[in-house]
Amino acid sequence: MAARTLINVPPKAKRGEVIQIKTLISHVMENGFRHDNMGKPIARDIITTFTCAYNGEKIFEAALYPAISANPFITFYTVATESGTLAFQWTGDNGFSQEATAKITVE
């Protein structure tokens, strides 16, 4: 199941500038502590890791737990070093994996 992602990276930046990266992905983040109306526990289904790579080098990683809201939103910063691609990857329970990329031009 493809999840929708929303990435906000400035398209252009000056060399050495600190840029803000905002990421959002659609996911239920079922925490595994709830029961359905028959009283059966609902299995956990969450995103467990998020990584960001800048031109192949990992710059940011997060380990997510059930206490993260549905549709995980993560904002972080990095230094714009060179033009290239930011690759984002989310992985989770039940073999969930989703990738997204964003291009940045550094002047």
Binding site: V18, F33, R34, N37, P66, A67, T75, F76, Y77
Partner: protein, 154 residues
């Protein structure tokens, strides 16, 4: 001691014992002790001092399902001195861990934002580990009106 008052006391004690046992079999819940254990697991034996890190959570939250949280750390973020990890813990959620971020010197600015769930009125703790191994923490007491859904959906 057979006066009615002492008999009532016994029954009250018995009632409290039963009620206490009933509380114990409730679904798993993090406690300050389990939070401390989770913190130990995350940062090891390092001494955690208050300061340098700032946790921003609204003190009064209406909806525990979506609580905007931001954490910033005072750090020059150079190759020699940077923030390695930022963790968020809670006292009374079913699990003490909330999220762990791994940063490196390329971050430029040690600040992260996310949205978390809170199950109860409680203390939220943020801890960061620097590249030199020192650990810093900040905590905020949050009052909650509507808890994140842990109970059966209706």
């Amino acid at each position: 001691m057979t006066d009615p008052a002492s008999r009532m006391n016994t029954t009250r004690r018995a009632f409290l014992a039963v009620a206490g046992a009933a509380l114990l079999v409730r679904p798993a819940k993090a406690t300050p002790a389990s939070m401390a254990a989770a913190i130990r697991q995350a940062v090891g034996e390092a001494h955690v001092k208050p300061g340098r890190i700032k946790l921003n959570v609204p003190p009064l939250v209406e909806n525990g399902n979506v609580v905007a949280v931001s954490v910033s750390v005072e750090s020059p973020m150079t190759e020699k001195d940077y923030v390695k990890t930022i963790h968020i813990f809670t006292e009374k959620n079913p699990q003490p861990n909330v999220i762990s971020f791994q940063l490196n010197a390329r971050a430029g600015k040690a600040e992260v934002q996310t949205r978390i769930r809170l199950a109860d009125t409680q203390t939220v703790v943020a801890i960061c580990e620097m590249s030199d191994g020192s650990c810093w923490s900040d905590k905020v007491d949050v009052v909650l009106t509507l808890s994140a859904c842990l109970e059966d959906p209706i």
